[in-house]
């Protein structure tokens, strides 16, 4: 029953055609050792864009990237011990991206180290109109929701800048077959 209410609450905002990060995630902030909570909607994004330099090559890339965006919402929780968030919390996010237009582009679930990563995209007439990244690790849960016209190439070009890894670094190299 509780799950049904949670999922219903999560699916309800789909009427607005935009993904809303479930409010249930907010209660995790109290348990987390570190919290990143960013909520940048249209006007704030535009304001931030104005403060990005056109002359600085790094900032110019970000400026171009955010030009078509309507919002960026990030919630990341890092816990000191495992089991602080439930599968229901993750499912509430997944339920948001089961609506029309959304497709799961990538999903990696590691049974051994219990690290799951999923990328969902909303396609609108051949262009990417939304992106949700869901990364669930034993002591960390991260949800990223980017709304608007997203150029994936521009996003990947941020690698090596602003602290984003430049190469695909394996934190713990494991033999193949550990993933499903």
């Amino acid at each position: 029953m509780r799950s049904a209410i949670l999922i219903l609450a999560a699916v309800w905002p789909l009427a607005a055609q935009d993904v809303k990060l479930p409010a249930s995630l907010n209660r995790l902030a109290g348990k987390a050792a570190e919290v990143v909570d960013v909520s940048l909607d249209g006007p704030l994004l535009k304001l931030a864009g104005k403060f990005l330099s056109k002359d600085d090559s790094e900032e110019a890339k970000v400026r171009a990237l955010v030009a078509g965006l309507k919002g960026i919402y990030v919630k990341s929780f890092e816990f000191e011990k495992e089991g602080e968030y439930s599968e229901e919390d993750v499912e509430a996010v997944r339920a948001q991206v089961r609506g029309p237009g959304w497709s799961r582009m990538l999903g990696v679930a590691s049974r051994k180290d219990r690290e799951n990563a999923e990328v969902y995209m909303k396609l609108d007439g051949g262009r990417v109109a939304g992106l949700v990244v869901l990364a669930a690790e034993p002591k960390e849960l991260t949800v990223v929701n980017i709304v608007g016209d997203i150029d994936i190439n521009q996003l990947s070009e941020l690698g090596g800048h602003f602290g984003v890894p430049a190469v695909e670094v394996h934190r713990d190299k494991k033999p193949a077959g550990n993933k499903e």
Binding site: L47, I72, L106, T142, V144, L155, V164, P165, E168
Partner: protein
């Protein structure tokens, strides 16, 4: 009495300036050049009454307050903009890192096959 005192008293003796003295003094004062140029006096004339001076001071004070408010608003916008920029960079860092990790896992899986 010394002769010096007599001479001093004689020199400082009160003397009547005569009936034309006042007229002569006024005529000389009128002939003297004005302390302020005429154009300046004409320009300043409307501001001479005390009320207008106070009104001008009030307008000036209002202008200063408005200028101060505009400057404060611009400074606030700068602070908000810089904060939004930091938030944006942080959001993109988290998004980029998680995307890279997801992609890395896929590459790792495919590379090992």
């Amino acid at each position: 009495m010394s002769s010096l005192e007599d001479r001093l008293r004689d020199a400082l003796r009160r003397e009547d300036p005569g009936p034309e003295f006042t007229a002569r003094l006024l005529a000389r004062a009128a002939a003297a050049p004005a302390l302020m140029p005429d154009w300046w006096r004409r320009l300043a004339a409307p501001f001479r009454p005390a009320k207008i001076r106070w009104a001008a001071a009030g307008v000036l004070a209002c202008l200063l307050v408005v200028a101060g408010a505009v400057e404060y608003r611009q400074r606030q916008a700068r602070i908000e903009g810089e904060a939004a920029k930091r938030q944006l960079v942080l959001a993109l860092r988290v998004a980029g890192t998680k995307l890279h990790l997801a992609r890395a896992k896929v590459v790792e899986l495919n590379g090992g096959l």
